[in-house]
Point group: D2
Chain length 328, copies 4
């Protein structure tokens, strides 16, 4: 059976018209898909007080994460402050993570840019730096023109040329844009697109995406800890959760309870995670995530400007959202 | 133990300051709460071609619904076109439903109006017409001023004077307003407010509401079939689902699967219901619900203006949403 | 030439097929349109402490308004708390205003309801109570279905049967819905629809509506004082402004400056009105309008629940918005 | 009198505490502010069929623009596709424009990036390439955290270090974020921030910004042709309008009519520009702008992916929006 990489190497040969052969290769490629199931922290990028990337602290975090039964790591998801990194920094962080990551763990790297050509190029660089898969966010500046036609073409071009499998990524809180369901359903048929991270949290939509892509063995990941259990319930296979930077073991435990059908226990745990999760995401954002990391033994470090440190009242609110649920 | 009604009769006596006694009565009242768990169709109101309420067709629908294991009926939820009914019609429809409803079924009647005084009055009339509980929607015209303070006072006044228990109702697609979580949490402590119908569908929020009200034995109902399974998963006890007007048995079956922990089977059924549900709610609305009712042996009838009959293309789309999921 | 009323009386005769005659009557009717140009306060409804309509205080307000060069009054616009009034109260308030209104002033009464049939009926009652024109808001509960097709049919039916001319009314802050431009353009051709009150404040859209309806002599009114001067600039003929309940003379002065082309002076005055206007509308709403009325010698009175009195901090903010612009 | 540049050079000296001297320098700097009044096309970036920057076509456009009485050019506003350019390309385009631009015309270059440090750096490079001023858009990816505190600090740091004056830029259709009024009012006091381009189009807000900044001689520019006349009416001094790429002379004529108080003529012209403007901005976007440029004798060229060429139906709609207003 062809691996995805082998398929990629052969694909150009088929494009002269040997469609039947190409289709066969496609389905073989699909059969060998990377298994994404499990929990991933989309890791934060620690900065020094001068806002330089703090590779030393990053390394120390990685060593701690290695002790937690994560499926892998996402590098440069939304809360990795990737829009604040230079291209060089984006690639270098991935290279460092690759070096530290224990064998068998999946490295998923965010490679999305606004233009298709920049995304294609960044995808190649991420693969070269050791990413097992890339997470590609919807372009969003021209949101009024980012309809299904434009997005399908964008992701298709990226997936066509990517040396590693592509995971689609929709995060409306940051982009102001949701990857439309019909686009997801069509893109799921591409042999090099193997999954979707949905951070929107509309559980009806997530259920429908699972339903519409079930013949493609398409892998859906919850993009936030707040609806992780519900996402498992409707058919997701894992989660990329900011909160896993802080409460990683607990999220892996929640995964285990869901996967083994222990829903009553899962519910109790899930409910205690909603407020801490909201605090480090939509309520108080990346600065809160980094603050909470400090409380739980990780290095958060500073944010790059224009992100500001939390105000005192915000720190207190953050603490309450953890302590009232028994985590502090 | 005091029934809720007895508690209501005694409550004024306690308000002179005998707070301890009152508190005790409260908890007793809470202990005897009406059990809301199960599936409810928020019944459509059939109209004649001249847009008069068609009580004959309503009666025939009720006889068919009596064969389905619903927990009860909701009369004058959003898709009952209640904003188009006169006050007299609102009450008369409830009276007719009461007369037809088999013993043991719960009649929940929508009694919400824009002003508190009108809601208080309509609530009394609904109770007089035989409602077991009232469903009270958030006032919404002055949405900019409908903060937690205003809404808590509104619902508290209504619940204070209501002869029957109150169920809160948030339906942002119609009202442009979500009942805030802190308001729900506070109102859940009122002895005469026993539950909440959430049609917004934010599963993270629903989970958090269950969590925040767990000491009050507060009953949360999913307000739409699209997220019914996920809502059960995070702790809801039932659903008020427009689609139950059409596929009532199937929704009761979904309930049974969720309640008995048969999640794999539930998921398969749930997924087939998402598109039909979306079609008769947010995509095509009440006219589509009524059209689909006709296909499945119920009387939908006309809508009142300004709601328009479906255009031909919409009817085809509606049919596809049912047929592609194996229902037609 | 036929008056609009005469046209209405004859219209049924023409509907058997005498279309040419009917068309002629239409254009004649259009030629005699009521002139709406000028400033209108959408009057507040004073309530007693027990939330009853305070007709005495209303009367006293009307006597004061009679001293101000308003074109007329709007009764039961959004800030008249009409959704909190019973049908009887709505009509009675109009009847009282009619009795007090000096000759030559225009009485425009809000007659919009959710259903077409209720709006038709309320329109007739308003005309019977003495309204010179009716202001008909977009129905909004089923906002997902209120497309141009539904709204055109709604307003056409209302205008067809109305004994007095109809003014369209779009107020998205309350309804969550904007009357679409193509619907306005088509409805402007109806002989009994003579204008449009736009409270949305999108000045590009207002300019385009003036442009698209210029052959119909359609009269556009600004729905708020914040963009009154800009609206005159792009072709509006007047304004229905909540702030006119408080600073009526000043708004009439602003009108005079705009109409006479004294734009530099107009600008200075307009700018001082923006913050007070925002304070009594979108920032703090009807309770703030009523509070400010008290400061300026009018009776505001209480609001009906669920509208709440202003908190102390809000009163201070309101005062600042007036005083920092030199009005207090 | 000190020039702004001289002030910048001296400013560090004053920060040890010689506040009075510093304040004086500030006011002197303010007095010599660059005059921004007039019309600017935010020029499109032509690409070849292979999506490379087509400097030859750019040059030819510039020669045509030199014949039109523009105040200057904006390079890399939103419709210049700057998010699709590399850093090198961004700077190179500015360098080329500088070389071609007739003496006396203002070159305003977009230098906004997501991080403060990248914006500081890009601002310096733009000044080095010959920009007379920089246009700095609000960072937007972390929109939930981009409150006034964060935005004030961001723009202050950029302005503190910028060798040329800074113009603030708010374009919510692209960023999902509006620069808050209080932030604008505070930033207007910075000696190196001399104006604001508002593409949101809320005329009430624009009027209030003019009002709140009147003691700073702060210059407000309309960010779109649809509300250009209204913006002049309330106190703006010019416009940066996508449509000026196509109908530049007409927009300069509209400016002349507004500035000379010929409002009646202005209104007629303004109204004919609304639909063409909407077509090349929010309705059909940059691809439509480039298509229309071709019709009017300029080079539009291709867009970079993921922006797609217009579909046939869109081209027809675009044509109608120009032809029905007498431009084609």
């Amino acid at each position: 059976m062809l691996s995805v990489r082998a398929w990629r190497a052969l694909a150009p040969l088929y494009q002269g018209g040997h469609l039947a052969v190409w289709r066969r290769a496609q389905s073989q490629a699909a059969a060998s898909r990377l298994d994404l199931s499990g929990i991933y922290p989309p890791i934060a990028t620690p900065f020094t007080a001068k806002e330089e990337v703090d590779y030393q602290k990053l390394e120390e975090n990685l060593q701690k994460y290695a002790q937690i039964p994560f499926k892998g790591l996402v590098v440069q998801g939304s809360n990795g402050e990737y829009p604040f990194l230079t291209e060089e920094e984006r690639v270098e962080v991935v290279r460092r993570v690759r070096r530290s990551l224990p064998a068998g763990k999946v490295l998923m790297a965010g490679s999305g840019c606004e233009s298709t050509r920049a995304t294609v190029s960044m995808t190649e660089r991420m693969a070269g730096a050791g990413a097992d898969a890339v997470l590609v966010v919807t372009p969003c500046f021209y949101k009024g023109k980012m309809d299904s036609r434009a997005l399908i073409q964008h992701f298709t071009k990226v997936a066509d040329s990517s040396p590693v499998p592509v995971v689609l990524y929709s995060v409306p809180a940051n982009t102001g844009l949701e990857l439309p369901l019909d686009a997801v359903a069509q893109l799921a048929q591409h042999p090099n697109i193997l999954g979707f991270k949905d951070s929107g949290g509309d559980i009806t939509r997530i259920g429908l995406i699972v339903h519409k892509t079930k013949t493609q063995d398409f892998q859906v990941l919850a993009g936030s800890a707040g609806f992780l259990m519900a996402a498992y319930c409707v058919g997701a296979v894992g989660g990329v959760c900011a909160l896993a930077n802080v409460l990683g073991r607990e999220l892996c435990e929640l995964e285990r309870l869901c996967v083994s059908g222990r829903w009553e226990e899962a519910r109790v745990l899930q409910q205690r995670l909603i407020e801490p999760n909201a605090a480090v995401t939509r309520k108080l954002g990346v600065p809160a995530l980094k603050q909470a990391m400090e409380w739980f033994g990780f290095h958060g470090g500073a944010c790059r400007s224009p992100l500001q440190p939390l105000a005192d009242a915000e720190i207190q609110q953050l603490r309450r959202d953890f302590s009232s649920n028994g985590w502090l």
